[in-house]
């Protein structure tokens, strides 16, 4: 059982408050959509929870601990706007590099991921035939799919996905939704920004609009 908690998060950029007074907590099994208009700080919040950005005040707690070093990172899968796919490397090489560094991040399986598993993940995102094609000769959607193939292997308890469905077709989106549901059902926490909604029982929405521009002490 894991728990992610935000404690009175406040963030300002160039002296302008972006959001403030943001407190929330989620248990294993939650799928949380961060909602709000463009520029209200969705990406900022996700990067902050991932530990790439420090809040101006407030804390992010993982399993009630604020120190989020290597042991927190070994529980985390983060997918940002730039997905981290190298254009000069093939789909398989990209995936191989990712899991050699990150590992499966599972509690009870070995971190090493075999070549067959990598190929199977590529199959799931429809790129099996392109395993040895350099990413630069693929379409934008296919390049993103290389990164999304990570989701079919990773068992990191916390997934943070920033607009995972961008440039993905309908069929791909529903496959991913199923995978995200399954991940939550097996005890993961998924945080994502998207305009998609689906009918999972554990689906929650955090509306950033209500925290917009608030000062520190609210």
């Amino acid at each position: 059982m894991h728990c992610l908690a935000l404690e009175k998060l406040y963030f300002e950029r160039e002296d302008l408050p972006l959001f403030g007074g943001l407190s929330a907590s989620w248990q294993s099994g939650s799928i949380v959509q961060i909602a709000g208009h463009n520029g209200c700080g969705k990406t900022t919040l996700l990067r902050m929870i991932a530990g790439l950005l420090q809040p101006s005040s407030g804390r992010v707690l993982w399993d009630d601990k604020a120190n989020r070093g290597l042991s927190f990172q070994s529980k985390l899968l983060f997918l940002g706007h730039q997905v981290g796919v190298k254009m000069t490397m093939t789909a398989l090489e990209n995936l191989r590099w990712f899991f050699a560094l990150h590992g499966r991040k599972s509690a009870d399986k070995t971190p090493e991921v075999s070549r067959d598993e990598l190929l199977e993940a590529l199959e799931r995102v429809g790129l099996r035939a392109y395993a040895d094609t350099p990413a630069h000769s693929m379409s934008a959607g296919q390049q993103r799919r290389i990164a999304l193939a990570r989701l079919f292997i990773s068992e990191a308890p916390l997934w943070i996905l920033d607009e995972p469905f961008t440039a993905i077709d309908k069929h791909g989106v529903s496959e991913l939704e199923q995978r995200i549901d399954k991940h939550a059902a097996s005890g993961g926490i998924v945080l994502l920004t998207t305009h998609q909604r689906w009918s999972a029982p554990s689906f929650q929405v955090l509306d950033l609009e209500q925290y917009k521009g608030r000062a520190v002490d609210v």
């Binding site: 991932a50 530990g51 790439l52 950005l53 420090q54 290597l70 042991s71 990172q73 070994s74 529980k75 985390l76 983060f78 940002g80 706007h81 730039q82 997905v83 981290g84 796919v85 190298k86 254009m87 000069t88 490397m89 090489e93 590099w97 990712f98 050699a100 560094l101 990150h102 590992g103 991040k105 509690a107 971190p111 350099p134």
Partner: protein, 229 residues
Amino acid sequence: MSDIRLPSSGFYEAFRRECLTAVRNRSELFNPLIFFLSIIMFVPLGVSPDAKALAPIAPGMIWIVALLALLLSLDKVFQSDYEDGCLEQMLLSGQSMYLVVIAKVLAHWCFTGLLLTLLSPVLGLMMALPGEAYIALMASLLLGTGALSFIGAVGAALTVSLRRGGLLLSLIIIPLYVPVLIFGTSAVRSAALGDPWTGPLAVVAAMCLCAMMLAPLAVVGALKISLEN
């Protein structure tokens, strides 16, 4: 903690991947080498082909051009990984970023400093460098370019989020390059004159090891700051 893996795999993978991407980017790979080669080729043409005129300036000339060639290639070290999001994946991988940075810089050095060192005897020949100085030239460049790569990586990490960081990078880095240049050239000059040259070389070696150990700490810190933007 059992869920943190041995860092050696991170080091190996990062190094392997850097080499792979460097080899696939062939045009950029040879830029510093071509720069190095062409300037040294122009010196005998522009200054004088006379060995008596060239020999005294040879150690300094070769060292300066090697330093500039390295400086030119530096802003590429973290640039592409910053732009495509690989850098944040490295930072969040749960692996020691210190080792990943060492692997990255070492790979960069293999395709710049090491190649320049291997090429340097040919250039020594063009510059009429006395025969006694070749070993000193190669040894000092081998260790010196290592120091330059690691020191330069700090500047590259600090300026990676700036769109045109090249000039700032040079301003930050050039003062730190001065000691390496002074001791590197003095080793070669002493050797050319037939004097003992291991003293200055030992200083270069010490600088190389210090840079290798300490610079990655600064690089990791600088990359974290750069990613906050």
